[in-house]
């Protein structure tokens, strides 16, 4: 069985930048990507305070950017950064009596490096703390991006299209709750571990969908959230190698994001899978995603929710042409999702896949059956899917009527423009 590449090892200097932007990465920037999370995790344990840990880590990186240019790169950049951050922490703690009891331990050996096993535990503790279910969803996402992925408050604010002050307040409130409520930074006990891993995966997935769903003017900025989600998911794969859904999450993010460059056209409108230029799909992401999927199956033959979604993405990624798509498997996967409690939207996706497998008439019959069941009455995607199948059958008048129904329901401006452009294809051009 092929082993998936380890996160951060293959090409760490370019890994988390937008593809095609292979600028030279400074040593500090490189160290930042690989060392931020372990250093913050170690300092958080040693100092017992997340805010202080982030502050002194930031100061150490700022000093690195000043010093390394003049003095040259240290032999072990990570060790240099940790020691420098500890010195900064000592300076602060000496000025604050509340931390007097922590001083001797910290001052004892500024140069000691954490054991690899302890570092894994510290990083997991940091992640489980930031994704604690006692924090609200938005706070978990913001904290994880700040503390684990190392984004600045400004970067997070821009990615979520909120003001920097709003995001800063959100982070302050979250850290206040951590302190006041006694939210622990520990690896949860075995009986809680599964639920807490699910919570962490939920946060990473929320980061991914936020980046993926955006197709507006901020797309470039927000696309970087997909990079961060992939970084977080692959970091989790290293830290929690026995959890199949963690692998599946990494697979889902990679296989979906592999299509990023082709998902939207020059006008910002979505491009159908059938019309995407597959030669521009990211082969590296597809290879890594498929490897994670294989690893997930090896850990547990029974697929969980992320695995099922990743399997659909894999079927698309593996097809060199649209007509090669394995719709039989996709329909089976949607059946499995429905068996796990998937809702009306899953049923709709399944109906569309059935249409691809068995032909437009059969797909239409499936859609009509769903329509009769109700539950999708206000969802524009149902008439839009009918319109696509009707237009393939050459039933133009019915297709136009279906597009009109979809347009009457759609709320999002991009989707409205997209539906209008699909409808326009069917109308004879004037003159």
């Amino acid at each position: 069985m092929a082993e998936p590449p380890e996160a951060g090892e293959a090409t760490p200097s370019t890994e988390r930048r937008p593809r095609g932007v292979r600028t030279v990465v400074s040593p500090v920037e490189h160290a930042f990507r690989t060392e931020w999370s372990p250093i913050v995790a170690t300092l958080r344990r040693e100092l017992g305070d997340l805010d202080l840990a982030e502050d002194v880590a930031s100061e150490a990186f700022a000093e690195a950017s000043r010093r390394w240019g003049l003095d040259g790169l240290p032999d072990r950049p990570g060790a240099w950064l940790l020691t420098t951050a500890r010195r900064k922490a000592l300076d602060r703690l000496r000025r604050d009596q509340r931390f007097a009891d922590r001083l001797p331990a910290l001052a004892e050996d500024l140069d000691r490096q954490p054991e690899p096993a302890a570092l894994v535990d510290d990083q997991l503790a940091l992640i489980f703390g930031c994704c604690h279910p006692a924090l609200d969803d938005a706070a978990r996402v913001a904290l994880t991006l700040r503390s684990v992925a190392g984004l600045s408050t400004r970067q997070i604010a821009r990615a979520f299209v909120v003001g920097e002050e709003t995001m800063a307040k959100r982070l302050v409130r979250a850290k206040k709750k951590i302190r006041a409520a006694g939210i622990p930074f520990t690896i949860p006990p075995p009986d809680q571990l599964e639920a807490r891993v699910d919570a962490v995966c939920g946060v990473v997935y929320a980061v991914f969908t936020e980046g993926h769903a955006s197709s507006d003017g901020a797309a470039l900025v927000r696309g970087s959230l997909c990079d961060e989600a992939i970084f977080l998911a692959e970091t989790l794969c290293k830290l929690l190698p026995d959890h199949d859904e963690v692998r599946a999450l990494a697979a889902l993010c990679l296989l979906t994001d592999a299509r990023r460059a082709t998902r939207v056209d020059a006008d910002g409108l979505p491009v159908l899978l059938a019309d995407q230029d597959r030669s521009r799909w990211d082969r590296d992401r597809i290879t890594r995603g498929l490897a994670h999927l294989v690893a997930a199956r090896a850990l547990d033959p029974a697929a969980g929710p992320f695995r099922l979604q990743a399997m659909v993405a894999a079927c698309h990624a593996a097809a060199h042409r649209y007509v090669d798509t394995d719709w039989r498997t996709i329909v089976h996967v949607y059946d499995a999702m429905l068996a796990q409690g998937g809702g009306a939207v899953v049923a709709l996706n399944r109906a569309v896949a059935v249409g691809e497998r068995d032909g437009p008439e059969v797909g239409l019959a499936e859609l009509d059956r769903l329509d009769a069941e109700g539950g999708l009455a206000d969802y524009h995607y149902l008439p839009a899917a009918r319109a696509e199948l009707l237009s393939r059958l050459g039933r133009v008048d019915e297709a136009l009527a279906a597009y009109d129904s979809a347009l009457a329901l759609v709320g999002n401006d991009t989707e409205r423009r997209w539906l209008a452009s699909r409808r326009e294809r069917l109308t004879p051009s004037p003159g």
Partner: protein, 118 residues
């Protein structure tokens, strides 16, 4: 008869200025009331709580512990009792909360006790 007095009020948006004479005067009223009720032999115990934005709510449904940020949201739920506990961290508090008998139908709100420094 034993009673619990639940003190509800709107929460200030900013922390009070602990050095101000207004704050001192306000605290004086609390100390006076506490002394009075203690000396009358009527007080069994009491604490101030941290603000509601430090609250965590726990429910158990179908054997699954559901933990959420924030205080009681369901207006129909009313406080029916309380336990004062001393544990290492929030996870331990959640573990106890998940064992409270009526947590399978109601909600247990966990609020940290205010550290008044005494």
């Amino acid at each position: 008869m034993k009673y619990i007095l639940l003190l509800a009020d709107t929460e200030p948006e900013t922390e009070p200025d602990y050095e101000s004479p207004e704050f001192a005067a306000e605290m004086e009223q609390w100390f006076a009331f506490t002394n009075e009720i203690q000396e009358a032999g009527a007080m069994l115990g009491g604490e101030a709580l941290m603000p509601s934005d430090t609250a965590t709510c726990v429910r158990v449904r179908n054997g699954e512990t559901l933990t959420q940020d924030g205080p009681f949201a369901e207006t129909k739920e009313a406080l029916g009792g309380f336990y004062l506990i001393d544990v290492a961290d929030l996870d331990e508090a959640i573990a106890w909360a998940a064992k409270v008998p009526n947590v399978v139908s109601g909600t247990v709100e966990i609020r940290p006790i205010m550290d008044t420094g005494d």
